[in-house]
């Protein structure tokens, strides 16, 4: 089989970014939650908030550490596999990525240490301030990244001269047409992710009767938040979809599995898109609903995939089903949040075991939804790297060969596999160890003396056998 450096590079980029993305999408929401817990403790002096913030800061430490480690690779990916693209777009993307690095560094350097290691050592107000700054910092960081990413979808404020983008307006380029929608969608996704993880872990603790006072508070708070956020996300998603219809109609057509431009477009619940035949098999549909959703009118005309030439069409099957996974989980989230409301009426959210187990099972769902949504939007851009201006093939490193790309793809998969395994193993230990009374926790004194590193803040041994090197 011929090894195609283009396919392998896209696979590699997708792998590395997906792996990296699951960490920030969680830490952004969690950072705000921790800041909120600090604020509540500061105001009410109720120690339950303090216990919660201590536990979630430990989780934050591990996840943030993993995000940092996997993030180092990202700043080199553009150059190694997409050198033509990085050369062409450097005038805009260079400053964007640099600002992301320096603002993220600024946050990490100045406030993360205080948040992770300052408990009981700095005044409570300072600790609260550090928590807020870390939360703000994560948003500033995602601001730059999402601006850069949105620009790839809806490039603005630039002109392409001799295969090089020149910035004509920084404000138009940074606040490009799809940026506000994408930023909102991702911000709310981060809060949903944080919310569902916190709710799921709190439910897990409640099932085991660990610190019920604190975890009831946490669960109740989360369920209110999710009740508000899950439907809000659907509305933002709708606006984002209309924006995409305006700027990237082919992507929306692929999401809908809609081949020929027409009105009265049905919403497909199930179908198997067949790119070669340019049609769908086994359609199951609700009449006119897609027209209503996309154009807000019952017979609104929606452009079809075939508006684009076959070689300029995205991979319809992936986009179509990725979209359904994301929306399906979104609907499931709304259902869970509403169930919480119904149970709350009867005062039973804390002891309905089936509901608590369901919440625990929901923990991975937001991550799946985020990755599915990311696949939809990125695959939907194909074959464009910069929409309408530069294709993936044009952006590829000219000297890159298939075997080279395959070597690094396998290499990154192995490296990240080890890191991920160790990280998840450690994270589950931190959670299993969490919210126990002081005397039952397996901490070793040694760990409290460890210096300032994100994961060190978690104070949990990695494995508990005897030391073979010393004994």
């Amino acid at each position: 089989m011929e090894l195609d450096p283009l396919v392998l590079s896209r696979l590699q980029f997708a792998f590395v970014v997906s792996f990296h993305a699951i960490f920030p999408v969680f830490t952004i929401g969690l950072a705000s939650y921790i800041a909120l817990l600090h604020g509540l403790f500061f105001k009410t002096k109720n120690p339950a908030w303090d216990r919660l913030s201590l536990f979630w800061t430990k989780v934050f430490a591990v996840v943030f550490g993993m995000g940092v480690v996997s993030g180092i690779v990202m700043s080199f990916q553009f150059g190694t596999n997409w050198s033509n693209f990085s050369q062409a777009s450097s005038n805009f993307l260079g400053p964007m990525l640099s600002y992301e690095v320096v603002t993220a560094f600024f946050l990490e350097a100045a406030f993360l240490g205080v948040l992770l290691f300052g408990r009981g050592k700095v005044p409570q107000g300072v600790h609260l301030f550090a928590a807020i700054m870390v939360a703000v910092g994560t948003f500033i960081s995602s601001f730059w990244i999402l601006s850069a990413n949105s620009w790839l979808h809806t490039p603005a404020g630039v002109e392409l001269v001799d295969f090089r983008f020149h910035v004509t307006s920084w404000s138009e380029a940074i606040f490009n047409p799809s940026f506000p929608y994408r930023f909102m969608h991702m911000a709310v996704a981060s809060f949903l992710t944080g919310g569902f993880v916190v709710a799921g872990v709190s439910a897990w603790f409640l099932l085991r009767d660990r610190d019920p006072d604190a975890n009831r508070r946490a669960l109740s708070m989360c369920l209110w938040l999710l009740l508000f956020l899950a439907p809000t996300q659907a509305v933002i998603g709708d606006f984002h979809g209309i924006n995409t219809l305006e700027h990237q109609p082919t992507k929306v057509a692929a999401m809908e599995g809609h081949w020929e431009t027409s009105g009265n477009v049905p919403l497909l619940l199930f179908a198997i898109p067949d790119q070669e035949a340019q049609t769908n098999h086994f359609e199951l549909a609700i009449p006119n609903l897609a027209s209503i959703i996309l154009t807000h009118s019952i017979d609104g005309e929606v452009p079809g995939i075939s508006e684009a030439a076959p070689e300029e069409q995205p991979p319809v099957l992936i986009v179509f089903w990725g979209f359904r996974v994301m929306v399906g989980i979104g609907l499931l989230m709304i259902a869970v949040a509403l169930t919480g409301l119904v149970l709350r009426r009867k005062g039973r959210i804390y002891d309905k075991r089936l509901f608590l187990k369901g919440l625990t099972a929901m923990i991975p769902m937001p991550f799946v939804a985020v990755l599915a949504g990311w696949i939809v939007t990125e695959s939907g851009r194909s074959p464009w790297l910069v929409y309408g201006m530069m294709t993936h093939a044009e952006g590829l490193t000219p000297s890159l060969t298939g075997p080279m790309a395959l070597f690094t793809l396998i290499g990154y998969a192995l490296v990240y596999g080890v890191v991920f395994y160790a990280g998840i193993y450690y994270l589950t230990r931190v959670v299993r160890n969490g919210m126990l009374p002081e005397e039952e926790r397996d901490t070793t004194d040694e760990n409290f003396k460890r210096p300032m590193r994100p994961m060190s803040a978690a104070h949990t041994p990695f494995d508990d056998d005897v030391d073979p090197v010393r004994s």
């Binding site: 940092v68 480690v69 996997s70 180092i72 700043s75 080199f76 553009f78 150059g79 190694t80 050198s83 990085s86 050369q87 450097s90 005038n91 993307l93 260079g94 400053p95 990525l97 640099s98 600002y99 690095v101 320096v102 560094f105 600024f106 350097a109 100045a110 020149h166 910035v167 920084w170 490193t397 000219p398 000297s399 890159l400 075997p403 080279m404 070597f407 690094t408 990154y412 490296v415 080890v418 890191v419 160790a422 450690y426 040694e446 760990n447 460890r450 210096p451 300032m452 590193r453 994961m455 060190s456 041994p461 990695f462 494995d463 508990d464 056998d465 030391d467 073979p468 090197v469 010393r470």
Partner: protein
């Protein structure tokens, strides 16, 4: 815009950033390279503890350099990275493994031996890859139409292998003198013992590289033996620093060996820059050929003017907080 040459300002910033990275990550990578030779497990604890609070701050200069290059000198970014494709991967994989090892070694009992290996091999591979980059830079890159056109292993020549090994030895020397500064007792004795050996090794490798360089790159030959005689200041200054290292180790000074080793690096680095100036993508492209548009350089400069002093202040402060000796059996409180 005509007031000053933005490209020169950026050349200074990036040059300074690389220097900072080499010096600072140099000594903590060096400790990883020395890891297997350490007298015992207590010494390894001390070695790792002496850099644990600062190493990721050190490594930030690398990320900053990567992003800064894309912003200010995109041609460097888009030629070096494809040309050094495999090497860059090895370096990143090495840095990831050793980064994770910092965390998990102390929390692990059963697998401590494996995290020791991850720390050592990760550091060694990353250092070698960085040294090979220097070698490849001296050799130059085949570039057509602003894109690299060579093969995957063009960078891997006997010369770049030597520069890779040379940088490993150099980092190990930095690590050993850092350890003299930060340790005491039997760990410090060991560091004193190995420093002259490493120094001899470094001088030998550097001498071979210096003799070899003019033959690898004719332009360097011309510069060295042409009319710029001032260039000879740098190797002599570096040699003087090496002598100071040797003497101060004999007298068992604690801080001087590390500072003098830094001196060796600074002068070697300046010598390399002067030998190549103003070529940044050898053999053909100068700083100005490689620069991004002035608007982008200016836009990014505004941020850097604020952030770099903050980074430097913070870095100095962490070094101050974690000053003093690291003792066996205790970390920082």
């Amino acid at each position: 815009m005509e007031m000053f040459d933005l490209t020169l300002v950026w050349a200074f910033i990036i040059g300074f950033g690389i220097m900072m990275y080499v010096l600072m990550d140099g000594f903590d990578l060096g400790l990883g390279i020395l890891y297997p030779f350490a007298p015992d497990e207590d010494a390894r604890d001390v070695m790792m503890n002496s850099v644990a609070p600062i190493w990721d701050g050190n490594e930030t200069w690398l990320v900053l350099g990567g992003a800064g290059l894309l912003g200010a000198f995109p041609l460097v970014y888009s030629v070096f990275l494809p040309a050094l494709y495999i090497g860059v991967f090895l370096m990143l994989a090495g840095l990831i493994f050793r980064g994770v090892a910092f965390e998990f070694r102390f929390k692990s009992r059963r697998n401590r031996r494996w995290w020791n290996r991850a720390f050592c091999w990760g550091s060694a591979v990353a250092a070698f890859a960085q040294g090979a980059v220097v070698g490849a830079y001296i050799q130059g890159f085949p570039v057509e139409n602003f894109a690299y056109v060579g093969g995957a292993f063009d960078w891997l020549t006997p010369f770049s292998v030597l520069t890779g090994l040379g940088l490993m030895a150099g980092y190990a020397l930095l690590g050993a003198t850092w350890l003299i500064l930060k340790s005491e007792g039997h760990v410090q004795d060991w560091a004193y013992k190995i420093t002259p050996l490493l120094l001899a090794l470094v001088l030998f490798v550097f001498a071979v590289i210096s003799l070899w360089t003019p033959f690898v790159n004719p332009r360097v030959w011309e510069r060295w033996f042409g009319n710029i005689q001032l260039i000879w200041v740098f190797p002599f200054a570096a040699l003087a620093c090496a002598f100071v290292v040797f003497r101060s180790v004999q007298k068992r000074r604690e801080g001087v060996p590390f500072l003098a080793t830094i001196g060796i690096y600074v002068f070697t680095y300046l010598g390399l820059i002067v030998s190549k100036w103003p070529v940044i993508v050898p053999p053909d492209y100068t700083l100005w050929d490689a620069a991004s548009s002035p608007e982008s350089q200016l836009f990014l400069l505004v941020g850097m003017v604020f952030v770099i002093p903050i980074i430097l202040t913070y870095t100095a402060w962490t070094y101050w907080v974690f000053r003093g000796k690291v003792r066996v059996g205790e970390g920082y409180h």
